[in-house]
């Protein structure tokens, strides 16, 4: 019994020590990052090209929210370079806006990297997910800060279900 209590106490000490090390290291890391001229912004939306150094400046752009009728007008006129569906792969597979690319938020970087050469920087991109979700805005910010043109990064906030209900083209 005494041995068991001793083991529990040792384990508790070990865990407390680990927490102390992690908290101290995190604190120092955050302070160092703040002082570093090549710092990484904590808010990823403020990161330009992740490959960029502090001396590079890709400018700043803001995604623009649009409604379904505006999105459809652009689609109908053939002005949209790509619709970007930021829902999970399985949801995308069950149906999406015609010609859309699937870029879930956690895959934004690798997909961007692999398609980089095929995506015109001055094209019009419309991002969407479900109604009320955040991932379309997240990925739109990511594209926005990777050199795409300010004003051409649009977010269709009504989402896929609304588009489908309106009877607009899906596949």
């Amino acid at each position: 019994m005494e041995k068991r209590n001793q083991n529990i106490s040792e384990f508790r000490q070990m865990v407390v020590g680990s927490v102390i090390i992690c908290i101290t290291a995190s604190f120092v890391g955050l302070l160092f990052n703040m002082a570093n001229p090549n710092r990484i912004p904590l808010d990823y939306k403020k990161i330009a090209d992740p490959t960029a150094t502090a001396s590079d400046d890709n400018g700043f752009c803001e995604p623009i929210p649009i409604f379904s009728d505006e999105a459809f007008e652009l689609f109908d006129a053939g002005d949209v370079t790509f619709f970007v569906d930021t829902r999970e792969k399985d949801k995308f597979a069950t149906g999406h806006i015609k010609g859309a690319l699937n870029v879930p938020s956690e895959k934004a970087y690798p997909v961007y990297k692999s398609l980089k050469s095929k995506l015109p920087k001055d094209g019009i991109y419309i991002f969407y997910c479900n109604e009320g979700c955040d991932s379309s805005m997240e990925v739109a910010y990511f594209f926005c800060h990777n050199g795409f043109t300010d004003g051409n990064i649009l977010v269709f906030e009504d989402g896929y279900e609304y588009w489908k209900e309106e009877g607009y083209p899906v596949e």
Binding site: E10, Q13, M14, V15, V16, G17, S18, I20, I21, C22, T24, A25, S26, V28, G29, L30, F32, N33, N36, N38, R39, I40, P41, L42, D43, Y44, I47, P50, T51, A52, T53, S105, E106, K107, A108, Y109, P110, E138, V139, F142
Partner: protein, 179 residues
């Protein structure tokens, strides 16, 4: 006259040797790895993104904090400060890294390890392969040895403990005996 002498001799056997060897080796490897990640934060940020295991918003914080945890833990391990705790952090970190590597190998990804080790200097590719898994398994073995079997010697913890007990002993001998 018949009192046994206080055992103050430092015993140093095979277990103590491996504990010290693994501890210094792992500590140095992690300090080097963290140093290169701290110097090139964007490069580590990119590597973290490529693993596709964390949501986008968590990647910057993770890539800022992790190298410092590695650095602190490496230093603690080498100096033997919070010895057991630093071993535990190492062990958990290595297991998590190993899982991340295996997941990406099973996904069939051809990517850089992002481990921050100078492997290219000795002609070993930094690409993720099953050799990386094997290498990390060796590190996990060393770390597990330190957590579960090690006999810590030459640690700051022991030094402080000895001083504390010596002080206590001195205090108790200074006290007048009460009968």
């Amino acid at each position: 006259m018949n009192e046994k002498p206080v055992k103050d001799k430092i015993s140093f056997g095979v277990r103590e040797f491996f504990s010290l060897f693994f501890r210094i080796l792992l500590g140095l490897i992690f300090i080097y790895a963290s140093y290169s990640k701290i110097l090139n934060p964007y490069s580590f940020y990119r590597a973290t993104l490529e693993y596709e295991l964390l949501p986008l918003f968590a990647v910057p914080v993770f890539s800022i904090i992790l190298p410092w945890i590695e650095m602190f833990t490496g230093l603690c391990l080498i100096f033997g400060a919070l010895y057991r705790s630093s071993n535990l952090i190492f062990f958990v970190m290595l297991v998590v890294f190993e899982m991340g590597i295996i997941i990406n190998l099973l996904r069939g990804r051809n990517m850089d390890c992002g481990c921050g080790l100078p492997l290219d200097l000795i002609g070993i590719s930094e690409k993720l392969t099953w050799m990386t898994v094997l290498r990390d398994s060796v590190f996990i073995f060393m770390s597990a040895y330190l957590v579960f079997l090690s006999k810590p010697r030459f640690t700051l913890d022991r030094l402080l403990l000895r001083r504390k007990s010596a002080k206590k002993l001195a205090q108790s001998t200074d006290k007048p005996e009460t009968s």
